[in-house]
Structure formats: structure tokens, C-alpha cells
Point group: C2
Chain length 197, copies 2
């Protein structure tokens, strides 16, 4: 069975790939807007994992709606949730997947996919949606990552990855400068996977 997994090159989506690869033919799919080249970080991580990679280009309007929401809110959660839902819709609309997946964890605050949203995706697109990490908490994920992956950890703005954050930061910086970015995005560490152990 062919499965498309939304992939950032970070530890969660990489661990999701390892959990799924014995059961599906996994393609790592990175959603982006064509604003920056950060998707290439995910492509490199995919090459390290020796799994096929695909870009999914989302409409510019999705980025601008998300950036506007983030600036209005003063925090990124709802804007990132919006992009994630659009990315899942785009992945589900691709013709060649029997199943789609993401790396959301049990205790993620964003992005989240409710049971109702999952069922709706499945029904509308005739595809299975699976979230292999949704039954794993942060501690369990960290311990599994330690035992299976080589990872670089650091502040969000220094770690190369291909989640939506880098491009949304670029949109907001273009509109309001680095000051606007700093107002909306809290400091936190991110991870980038550099290989299997």
C-alpha cells in the first residue's frame, strides 16, 4: 500500500516514517509555498533515510492567510494549524496514495487532527489517515528517537528544517520585519534529523 507522510525532516515525522515503513510503501511529502528553499532540508533528510521524497506546493493564499492570522493572534498556533489542514487536504487529494499520515504526537498542541477531522478526510478522499505517533507522549518519542536517530537540536531559527514555520516567518518578516517575527514566535528548540543510528 502506498502512503504519503507529511514530512519536515524533524524527529517526530522521521520517527513516524520508521514506524510505518515496514507496513507501507512510504513517500515523504513536504508541503511548502515556494517562498524559501527550506523544503530542501527535508529532501536531504529523506535521502539520509533512503525513502522517496515529494514536494507538495500549497497556494500562496494559504501562507498569507496563516501569516495574517498569526500576526492578529500574536502567536503561531492557529496559523500553523490552518496550514497543516491544507497540507493534509492536498496530500489526500493526490491520486496515488492509499493512506496519508503525519507525525502528530499525543501531547502536541499544534498541529492536531481530531477524530472527526480524521474521519472527514477519510470519507471525502477515500483514503486512510493514520497518525502513528498520536498514541505516544513526548517522553516516549524522545526515548525512541534517542535509540533510533541521529539528531541535531537547537533554536528554531538556526535549525534547518522544512516545517511551515520557516516560510511563515519569511512572510511575516517581509511584511513587518524581524520585530514582527519575534513578537509572534516564542523561542523554542527544534530538531533536524541527520541520519539513522
Amino acid at each position: 500500500m502506498q502512503l504519503g507522510l507529511l514530512y519536515s525532516g524533524g524527529k517526530d515525522s522521521t520517527l513516524a516514517a520508521l514506524l510505518l515503513e515496514n507496513f507501507y510503501d512510504v513517500t515523504l511529502a513536504t508541503a511548502h509555498f515556494g517562498i524559501t528553499d527550506d523544503w530542501q532540508h527535508a529532501e536531504r533528510a529523506a535521502a539520509e533515510l533512503d525513502l522517496p521524497f515529494r514536494r507538495i506546493e500549497l497556494d500562496d493564499a494559504v501562507a498569507h492567510d496563516a501569516a495574517e492570522r498569526i500576526r492578529e493572534d500574536g502567536f503561531p498556533r492557529n496559523g500553523i494549524q490552518h496550514v497543516h489542514q491544507e497540507a493534509l487536504e492536498a496530500l489526500a487529494a493526490a491520486d496515488d496514495f492509499d493512506a496519508i499520515a503525519d507525525g502528530t504526537r499525543r501531547d502536541d498542541r499544534v498541529p492536531t487532527v481530531s477524530r472527526a477531522q480524521a474521519q472527514s478526510l477519510e470519507d471525502r478522499h477515500d483514503v486512510d489517515y493514520v497518525a502513528p505517533l498520536s498514541g505516544f507522549g513526548r517522553g516516549a518519542v524522545d526515548r525512541l528517537v534517542d535509540s533510533t536517530l541521529d539528531v541535531t537540536v537547537g533554536p528554531s531559527e538556526e535549525i534547518p528544517r522544512a516545517d511551515y514555520e520557516a516560510e511563515l516567518r519569511a512572510v511575516i518578516a517581509d511584511q513587518g520585519g524581524q520585530e514582527a517575527v519575534a513578537e509572534c514566535f516564542p523561542d523554542h528548540d527544534q530538531t533536524h534529523v541527520t541520519g539513522r543510528r
Copy 2:
């Protein structure tokens, strides 16, 4: 890392074992009351999977409380949920597991383990609780089972398995005869795993 998985010999808990076995040293653990020998069905399925097996004997009081609840309700859901929670507590209390798990699916009505219950188990017992199928719906589970396991399907009372239902049926039959059992347990098909594909 040592992981104990609550195991019935059915398809869900078997698929959970396959998802986990590349990441943990998995022991299949069957909770029972010593009322019937149905746990032996799980032991045989575990032998087919070539994974270590353990019995976890729960207190008779748990079975009787559950049976009383089921007869009062007229349906098994709350009684089975009670037994499952007690089984998870017993598994978490075992000293030799870094993580415990079960085979609950995204759309299971019973048993269910909420995020708050999961976090409480982890905090009180210093153990990870993981539910590898909680991000998979029924359709996705069925398709994965078809591609990985040999399964027998049939009505609950004819399929050999080691969930709590067989022993709770026995307790209720002992109290109120087969009529009481028929009043509380709806007809539905169960599965028993007979091997890997």
C-alpha cells in the same frame, strides 16, 4: 527498552505488537482472573508470533465488580473499561517494563484511555504508556491486518481469545445462566490470530 503489551490474541493487539517490535523488546501480557483457561489462546498466538508471553493475574474482586456493573447496565462497555484500567495498572506496576502498551484503536468505544489517564499512568508509575493503534481507524487496521496476519473470524462465543469478555461471560453465566449472558452481550464477530503471513 522493555515493553509490556496487553495482549488478547486478537488482531488489534497483535498488530500493535508488530508495530512495536522493531523499537522495543516486547513481552505480550495477558490479564486474567484464573476463572477460565482462555489466557492459553493468547499464549498460543504469542508462540506463533515468537514473542515472549506473560500472564498477569488480576484480583477476583475486579471480575466480580465488572460483572455486577455489566448486569446492572445491561451492556458490557463500562465493565470491560474497568477491567482494562485495572490491567493497565497491574502492568504498569510490574518492575521490569520501561513502557507499557495496549491495542486500542482510534475509533474504539471500549476500552479507551484518555490523554489524562495516559499521563496519570506515566506519572504515577514512571513508565511510558503507548497506544500504537490509537492513530489508526478501523479501515486502516483491517487493511494492515489483511496484509500481515493470518486471522480467523467468527462470533464472540466461538472464537478462542483471551480478552476479558470470556471470563466475564463465565462469571455472569455462573450467577444468572446463559440467559443473563445473552441479555448483556450483543452478538458480534471477534478475531483470533493464527500466525504471521
